[in-house]
Symmetry: C2
Subunit: 476 residues, 2 copies
Amino acid sequence: MEFKQFKEFSSEMIDYVGNYLENIRDRKVLSSVKPGYLRPQLPAEAPNDPENWKDVMLDVEKLIMPGVTHWHSPRFHAYFPTANSYPAMVADILSDSIACIGFSWISSPACTELEVVMMDWLAKMIGLPEIFLASAGQGGGGVIQGTASEATLVALLGAKARVLQQLKQANPTLVDADIVPKLVAYSSELSHSSVERAGLLGGVLLRALATDGEHKLRGDTLREAIIKDRADGLIPFFVVATLGTTSCCSFDRLDEIAEVGVDENIWVHVDAAYAGSAFVCPEYRHYTKGVELVDSFNFNPHKWLQVTFDCSAMWLKNPNHVINAFNVDPLYLKHELEGQMPDYRHWQIPLGRRFRSLKMWFVFRLIGVANLQKSIRKDINLALDFAKRVEEDPNFELFNEVTMGLVCFRIKGSNELNETLLKEINDRGKVYMVPSKVKGTFFLRMAICSRYTQIEDINFTWNEVQESGKAVLSKQ
Amino acid sequence: MEFKQFKEFSSEMIDYVGNYLENIRDRKVLSSVKPGYLRPQLPAEAPNDPENWKDVMLDVEKLIMPGVTHWHSPRFHAYFPTANSYPAMVADILSDSIACIGFSWISSPACTELEVVMMDWLAKMIGLPEIFLASAGQGGGGVIQGTASEATLVALLGAKARVLQQLKQANPTLVDADIVPKLVAYSSELSHSSVERAGLLGGVLLRALATDGEHKLRGDTLREAIIKDRADGLIPFFVVATLGTTSCCSFDRLDEIAEVGVDENIWVHVDAAYAGSAFVCPEYRHYTKGVELVDSFNFNPHKWLQVTFDCSAMWLKNPNHVINAFNVDPLYLKHELEGQMPDYRHWQIPLGRRFRSLKMWFVFRLIGVANLQKSIRKDINLALDFAKRVEEDPNFELFNEVTMGLVCFRIKGSNELNETLLKEINDRGKVYMVPSKVKGTFFLRMAICSRYTQIEDINFTWNEVQESGKAVLSKQ
């Protein structure tokens, strides 16, 4: 494909995607295709000769769109949001053309250096303590990971490397096999599935601890577990505190957990994947009390801060533990200027990495901090508005207090009734939600996910919920 | 940013990146900035109010481009290629606008289904046996991973899950801690650094085995290592065969290794990260002899097949071992139609994933198989042409036979002389290469990386090498 054709093709695509997004409210949010819908409509193999791009454009609407679940529809209330913004999309065009693989500073200095500065900008935007900023010169700094799952795994492996080093230094006769089977990590019972998976992948025991009446992990619970495990000969080394759980957006008591972490010499990692974006608004930063004591902190701008997937922001107070765990350097990756700037390949699981900081730079400059705050506050207010209606309707109740853009609610009655309600809502096909279950109680999750969501959409969704509620109650 | 502004901004960006790529030969391939060049030129924090996109465009050329190492310059010969093509870039615009997170079938059916079909198309394009195709209905299938590093780690963890299951089934009194410390994996001493890292991350011993005179791992070497390790009470469970090593593009003897794998019941994973793309040309498929016997196969279309990063293609004969190792399913991710199509979250380390199969679909349809073959053959012919000049010059010699787009060569003389030569070449700043060292011999790697590279560029590069050679010889 020549430049001229690329211009025509991309211009048509830009029109197409702009129209797609601006009119997304008109599309059915949840695809109604059946598994296996696509294969019969495609050739069995790739063509030998090039096709015309106009045919590909036609197939996008004809074959792909019917199978798309529209995450940016204002009627999409499932899971958590994923970001979408025009500045990020344009940045990705640039990133795709430079297409460098920034595994080391020398492999494309701008790729590393813009990331270092953008991670400092973002740390300031959410009020992280200076010790996490590269510009503070205290060894800390940020890195873009692909996902929060990877950030959790990286933190766990860094913590594992640290405890192995400490114990072997104290007792040089010890080898890894003496220590690893005794390692134990902790999280709240409501932490994300990726935390359990990080334990599996890291080959260590992960203990899911009970939460309090507000679904928060408390410091005393953690301390008791550590004391008991030490008494049983185990080696506690790592805890994940979740700020904004996926199940019900509860916040672990970071202030208490961080203190226990310091007292007991265990690595504290903060998973604020969803809620972290809200910390651009000072009024939500009270949830981060104690963060100056933690070892690593992570949240996903690709969820709620208008930077498209993937962009998971992670800060490490002392990256050397991770670097030591990951550093296996062949000659073809070494360069003369090592050590003066980070070589990010030592901070992550993959070797390759895209020029993702461009997305942050474009979004922060072209949207601005004030508008990012405004957007977060708009979403939270929409959630509070929906919550008010739940509370005012005698048939419905909230599962827990609404603090962010997620409303956990249920129809008064059994879990089975709520399962039927959810099925009714999604079968009607006008809005889309997923459920959760906490301590035996099944409920529905209504997340504000789209930047296009307005109060009319909340009216619409609430009407769908009420109508569905009436339908399931009448069938009882 | 509104749609109208997005159209203007993206239109200007499309012009900019097209001009950047079409004139990339004019830019200095290796950036000459010093570490820390960027921070003093940027504000200390993000702006509160939005800026004008025209200012951002100006800063791209002024601040970013001086720090870019131009991977798509025809004078870039370092590392291995990374892909770049117009169809893939347009596909990414679409992917960024749909911006679904395809962790399960229901979360966006088209995202999963196009990937299943594209992985079948690609398997056919490189001549993989039918057992790896989803359409064969034998349980096998493909998945897009982010990088070959992740694919290797996923394969290793799948193999670990399989051996644990087999041994615990045979002897129900065994627990993981009885087995894991005894596990041993193998690769060639020239396998990629990510293989060693997968061993580290997976918490198992990885043994790097000696290669033969042609730098290939042989079956007998593997068999002897397995026999010795078993005699020492260890449990061999996994081997990585590399097709096209990063060091010198040597090919392990897959035919022999696969046979040993079957005989000894160990999981064979093929890492063909770079060279795998060449298998679209039937004349290179002899390297894959034995592939019908392996458990997993991986290569990177994002290296040499015009699909932009990230797109690492992996096939598994029986994905259930990986699925069992990774499956930790909370209620909010479950859906009614599970099992009818893959839920790719169980096939990978992260939870989230982009709609990457669009890039494959656009590239395969708009470039076509014949042109992809032509492009591979062009690159290999350019490498062979360069190799011929090395052989014809009495001052230079090849390190090994050239079979793909990589020439490993040296100036006749000591390692130190070759280190000086490389420094001279890169300091002149007109072409960029990295070195490697195999069995004590230091040499230079000249990889054909850009789709713009033509014979004139090879003339240019060879001239740079000759001039640099004269300079270092005259200083001796």
